[in-house]
């Protein structure tokens, strides 16, 4: 009867967990591995300027409408500055201003964007073509060039391809040299010329400035390309490939011929653009999506907690997994360990120290601690003061090791401080009692068992995919719960018992 109850209960738990998991994975598109999340980028722009004790005004174009990216969230770090953002001509602009300021100033703009292929174009159709009317002799040069290009092309795509090709021949074509002027080599100038020529033919076009978001780059390269309004939509043309598509990694920032930023009232201005792939926030899109499709579903999720709590839960949610492994190691395999959950805690601390250093550190602390413990035995201390003395000794040992390794230049880091000091003290005490009562063999074998189990748990919980999955799919806890309940009724032999009774089995065959 109880057994049926158990199976039903675990069955329900496992089904519940799986159902929520599948729903989130399949219908809400929660990414199951952190790799899928790589479509997010954090872009940070730092604008620096020397203020001169007078009013300062800085304007900066912000991330705009882009074919391949959508803006997820953005924020500004503007200190005591007044900040206004405005939207004009499909461009977004931030204007910082302050009455009086002195010294080097830094203004920050940070935006999280997501790569979204095949996005719909929502940009409005262009305003009136407002290219400044060309004057002679530029007008006739432009007309000649346009006619030439037009003659040699079949449609808009070929027109633009030809145009780009011709604009690169400034050295051999005096018309082009005249039109481009002294900045003949600059891509922006060529694009602006192309816009002017297309305007002449009544085709709306604009220069787009943006960045190339490639993997593993910190300093982002600025890129420009051409956008042409044709058949009720904007199409992008890459000047680098004579009118081919722009790469997917291009994010559009602003359009037009203005510079990216303008500063009034300061000198020595500098702009720095950094971009970093954001692997953790991928889930954001799924959340945004699920807020639309299942608004109440996520109200009670961990993802609604403050970021700090979330970081803690990332670790806490790994503990049940460790606990399940302990169950398997102790009840199915039969490895003896110090304390029930000590291996889990040790594994968590290995996350900080890395495995090899963790094991070295663990063994060192335990052996020095044991030596001290054996000495304390002579002093005949009462148990609680003795435990406290060991605890203090452990802290001294850890601090000493840390200072030593730091001076030796070993990459141990500050992570040691998180090593579970109390747990170590208890391990020392238990080990020494075991040592006295059952001999060093048993004590060492349990110590090694503890380390081995910890190492296995460490390998499981350090896995990014597992951490990611446990955090974003906490319903897996129901499954773990169910499995643990089932294992709670496992009444078969432990693996070590096969060994323990093996002679017996052989003899009686």
């Amino acid at each position: 009867m109880k057994k049926i109850q158990l199976f039903v209960l675990s069955g329900i738990l496992i089904c519940l967990g799986s159902a929520i998991f599948i729903y989130k994975y399949h219908f809400l598109n929660f990414p199951i591995t952190p790799d899928k999340t790589s479509s997010f980028w954090d872009i940070e722009i730092r604008l620096s300027v020397d203020a001169e004790d007078k009013p300062l005004k800085a304007s900066l174009f912000l991330a705009g409408e882009s074919e391949n990216f959508t803006i997820n969230s953005e924020h500004f770090l503007s200190g005591k500055y007044g900040l206004v953002t405005e939207k004009k001509n499909n461009n977004r602009k931030a204007v910082w201003s302050i009455r009086k300021v002195n010294g080097r100033q830094h203004l920050y703009y940070r935006v999280l964007v997501q790569k979204t292929a095949g996005k719909k174009h929502t940009r409005l159709k262009p305003e009136k073509i407002s290219a400044s009317p060309l004057e002679e002799p530029y007008l006739s040069a432009a007309n000649r060039l346009w006619n030439d290009v037009y003659e040699h092309s079949a449609d808009l795509n070929t027109v633009i391809g030809n145009l780009f090709k011709r604009l690169n021949q400034a050295k051999t074509d005096e018309n082009i040299a005249l039109l481009l002027g002294k900045d003949a080599a600059s891509t922006t100038r060529k694009l602006e010329t192309a816009v002017e020529l297309l305007a002449l033919a009544g085709i709306p076009a604009q220069v787009v400035h943006g960045f190339d978001l490639r993997e593993e780059i910190i300093q982002v390269k600025m890129v420009s390309w051409l956008e042409v309004y044709h058949q009720r939509k904007w199409t992008s043309y890459n000047p680098g490939t004579f009118g081919g598509d722009i790469p997917e990694s291009y994010i559009a920032w602003w359009r037009g011929s203005e510079p990216m930023y303008k500063i009034r009232g300061g000198t020595n201005s500098q702009i720095q653009v950094t971009a970093q792939k954001n692997e953790t926030k991928a889930i954001q899109s799924a959340i945004v999506q699920s807020k639309l499709t299942a608004p109440h579903f996520l109200k009670f999720s961990l993802l609604n907690l403050p970021i700090q709590n979330q970081i803690i839960y990332r670790v806490i949610l790994l503990i049940p997994l460790g606990a399940l492994l302990v169950v398997i190691f102790r009840n199915i395999i039969g490895i003896k360990t110090f304390g029930t959950f000590m291996p889990v805690l040790i594994a968590l601390s290995f996350r900080e120290t890395q495995l090899l250093w963790g094991i070295i550190l663990f063994s060192l602390v335990i052996s020095i601690g044991l030596a001290i413990r054996f000495y304390l035995e002579n002093l005949k201390l009462l148990v609680v003061p003795r435990l406290s003395a060991i605890l203090i000794a452990v802290i001294i040992i850890i601090a000493g090791l840390n200072i030593f390794t730091y001076n030796m230049g070993l990459p141990l880091g500050l992570s040691v401080s998180l090593f579970p000091i109390v747990i170590l003290s208890m391990a020392i005490e238990r080990m020494s009692i075991l040592w006295d009562e059952r001999g060093p063999g048993e004590a060492l074998s349990q110590g090694v068992g503890t380390l081995a189990v910890s190492a296995v748990i460490y390998y499981v919980i350090k896995n990014h995919i597992i951490e990611h999955t446990m955090f974003f799919f906490p319903e897996l806890l129901f499954i773990l719960f169910g499995i643990t309940l089932l294992l709670g009724r496992y009444s078969g032999f432990r693996l070590v018992e096969l060994y323990r009774f093996k002679e017996f089995a052989r003899k009686k065959r």
Binding site: E437, R438, S491, G492, F493, E497, L498, F504, R509
Partner: protein
């Protein structure tokens, strides 16, 4: 490995998981554990039930009393100090003789009064108790082992472990101290375990450190084919422990004093499984048999007759 697993299952070997899940957890009510976990309570109950136990000399409950220790024992030539809630024989000190503040242990070593007091202090702070709770130290009568065990034990007192299930003795062994076990009768400390035929009380094969032996490693005398005296009485005592504690599955540890006869030393609610190796027989088949028939058996005599009939060594071999 699978084959081994299957083989052991067929032999009816009881594993730890099965013991816990299907026997101790199932049949032993948690609230009755303190009776066996605390030797003081066991002693008290046993006296009420008329079951012989080693005489209690004194109990030390608080640190302050330790100072009076020398006074407490000054008229006792020999005695045993043990933690009331100790497990696995840990924390037990046997004193065979003492002069002023020098105490001689059963092993012949001398320890000082201060060392004994420190040991008692450790007992009180829970060093040896289950779960580390504070504990009491018991000072009790030191058993003088029956002479039959003299050739086959090294120091210490051999004890007889009988697994009792619903009052029916299921399997039994005698644990013989060795030099390696330092006079202690615990198998994991190096004592010998020799199976006993439930029907006759005659020792069978013996196991020492996971290997089968025939002779005592220290004395050289054979450990098999020894008839345990008072066997019927031992069975009777062990069976009565079920009524006393209400624990269906328990291990009863009995010692044979040369003057006072059989006495219950302690009870165990989670007896170990090594007894199967000592007997070269699995517990599971026997336990299942008892599970099926224990309702039919009322009196202690019926139960013992059932055990003698069914758990005879020759039949156990099948």
């Amino acid at each position: 490995m699978f084959q081994l697993y299957k083989q052991l299952s067929q032999k009816g070997i009881l594993g730890i998981n099965k013991r816990n899940a299907n026997y101790t957890l199932k049949y032993n009510a948690r609230n009755k554990y303190p009776i066996v976990d605390n030797k003081l309570k066991t002693k008290q109950l046993a006296i009420e039930a008329g079951i012989p136990v080693p005489e209690l000399y004194a109990v030390i409950e608080i640190e302050r009393q330790i100072q009076d220790f020398d006074d407490m024992i000054k008229d006792l030539p020999s005695f045993v100090i043990k933690p009331a809630r100790g497990s696995g024989g840990n924390g037990i000190v046997v004193i065979s003789n003492h002069v002023r503040d020098m105490y001689q242990k059963a092993s012949g070593d001398f320890i000082t009064s201060d060392e004994i007091k420190y040991h008692i202090s450790n007992i009180l702070s829970g060093l040896y108790s289950l779960g580390g709770q504070t504990d009491n130290a018991i000072i009790e009568y030191r058993i003088q082992p029956d002479l039959i065990f003299e050739p086959i034990s090294y120091l210490g007192v051999p004890d007889i472990r009988i697994i009792v299930f619903f009052g029916i003795p299921v399997m039994s062994m005698v644990r013989l101290p060795t030099r390696m076990s330092d006079g202690k009768a615990n198998l994991h400390q190096g004592a010998i375990g020799a199976g006993i035929d439930i029907a006759t009380g005659i020792t069978l094969s013996a196991v020492w450190k996971d290997t089968i032996i025939t002779n005592h490693p220290d004395t050289g005398y054979p450990v098999s084919d020894i008839r345990i005296p008072f066997w019927e009485k031992l069975l009777n005592l062990s069976s009565r422990c079920y009524e006393m504690t209400g624990l269906a599955y328990q291990g009863v540890d009995i010692v044979l004093d040369k003057d006072k006869g059989p006495m219950i030393l302690e009870l165990n609610a989670r007896p170990g499984l090594n007894i199967q190796i000592a007997n070269q027989a699995g517990l599971l088949t026997r336990l299942k048999l008892v599970e099926a028939h224990h309702h039919e058996l009322e009196s202690i005599d019926d139960k013992i007759q059932f055990a003698i009939h069914h758990f005879k060594h020759s039949t156990a071999l099948e």
